[in-house]
Symmetry: C6
Subunit: 75 residues, 6 copies
Amino acid sequence: MSDSWLPSLKTDTPQAGFELAVKLSRMAVKITQPSDDVRSHLRAAYEQDAAQLIAASQVVAVHFQTVAAANNWWR
Amino acid sequence: MSDSWLPSLKTDTPQAGFELAVKLSRMAVKITQPSDDVRSHLRAAYEQDAAQLIAASQVVAVHFQTVAAANNWWR
Amino acid sequence: MSDSWLPSLKTDTPQAGFELAVKLSRMAVKITQPSDDVRSHLRAAYEQDAAQLIAASQVVAVHFQTVAAANNWWR
Amino acid sequence: MSDSWLPSLKTDTPQAGFELAVKLSRMAVKITQPSDDVRSHLRAAYEQDAAQLIAASQVVAVHFQTVAAANNWWR
Amino acid sequence: MSDSWLPSLKTDTPQAGFELAVKLSRMAVKITQPSDDVRSHLRAAYEQDAAQLIAASQVVAVHFQTVAAANNWWR
Amino acid sequence: MSDSWLPSLKTDTPQAGFELAVKLSRMAVKITQPSDDVRSHLRAAYEQDAAQLIAASQVVAVHFQTVAAANNWWR
C-alpha cells in the first residue's frame, strides 16, 4: 500500500469512473487479504457463484456513487 | 471493455434512467465474470432464486440513486 | 417494458412516494425475471421467509431515498 | 393501505424521526406480506435471530437517513 | 422507549459521532427485541461470528453517514 | 475507546481517505468485539472467505462515501 494508487477521484468519462469504482472495490479486498495467491484462489470460486458476483457488484455500485458525485455526475 | 458503453449518465426520462441502472448492475457482473457462457449458466439458476433476485434489485436501486441524481431527479 | 411505467418521480404525498418505491423494487425484479408465473411461484415462498421480506424492504428503503429526494422530501 | 399512514416526513425531534424510520421499515414488510398472522408468526422467529435483527436494523438505518434529511437533520 | 435517548444528532467530535452511530445501531435492535435477556444471549453468539460482526458494522456505517451529515462533517 | 482515534475526517489525499475508511470499518467491529484475541481468531477465518471479504469491502465503501463527502471529494 506504500505506492500511490488513488491520486484523484476525477475521471474524464463516466465509464472511466465506473472502472475506478471497480478498482476501489478490489483495493478494499486487497487491503484485508494482501496475499495475491489467496485472492486468486478465492476469485476462481466466487466467479462461479451468482450470489457473490451480485454482492461484489453492490460494492461497485456504492463506490460508483462516490466517484460520480466527485465528478459532479459528469454533467 | 474497450468499447464505449457509458457515454453519459443523462437520460431523457426516469424510465430510461431505470434501464440504465439495470445496465450498470449487469456491467459490474460482466467485468468480474467476462465469460458469456458462465454468466448465462449462473443467470438460469438465480432467476429462480428469490433471494438472489432481491439482491440484484438492491444493486439496481443503488445505481438508480446515482442516475437520478445525475439527472437532477428529472425535475 | 415497452409501455411507459415511470413517467415521473414526483408524487403528491410521502405515502404515494413510498408506494412508488415499492413499485420500483418490483420492477427491478420483473426486468430480471419477466415470467409472471415464476415470480408468483417465488413470491409464495418468500412471503413466508422473514429474511427475504427484510431484504425486500431494504430495497424499498433505498428507492424511497431516491423518491424522497426527487420530491424535495415533500417539505 | 387505503388509510393515510404517512402524512409527512417531518418530526419534532430526532427520536421521533427514528421511530418513524422504524415504522417505515415495518410498512414495507406489511405491504409485501399483508397478513397479520403470518407476520406475527415470522416475527416470533426472527426476534430470536441475531442476523435478522441486524438486517432489520439496517433497513431502519436507511430510512433514518431519509427522515433525517427531510428534517434538515434537526439542526 | 418513553425516555429521551436521542435529543440531538450534533456531537462535538467525529469520534463522539461514531459512538452515536453505534448507539443508533443498537437502539434499532432494542426496539425490535426489547428483552435485555434475549439480546444478551444473542450478543454472546454473534460476537463470535465474523459475518454478523461485519453486518453490524455496516449498520454503524450507514448511521455514521447520517450523523456526519448532521454535523456538516465537523468541517 | 478512551483514547482519541478519530480527531478529524479530513485527509490530504483520496488514498489517505480510503485508508481512514478501512480504519472506521475496523473500529466498528472492535467496539462490538473488544477482544483482540477473538478478532484475530475470526480474521484468520474470514480472510479465507470470499463472501465475508466482499461484505467487509461493502462497509469500507460506505465509510469512504462519508470521508469523501467530508473532504469535498478532494476537488
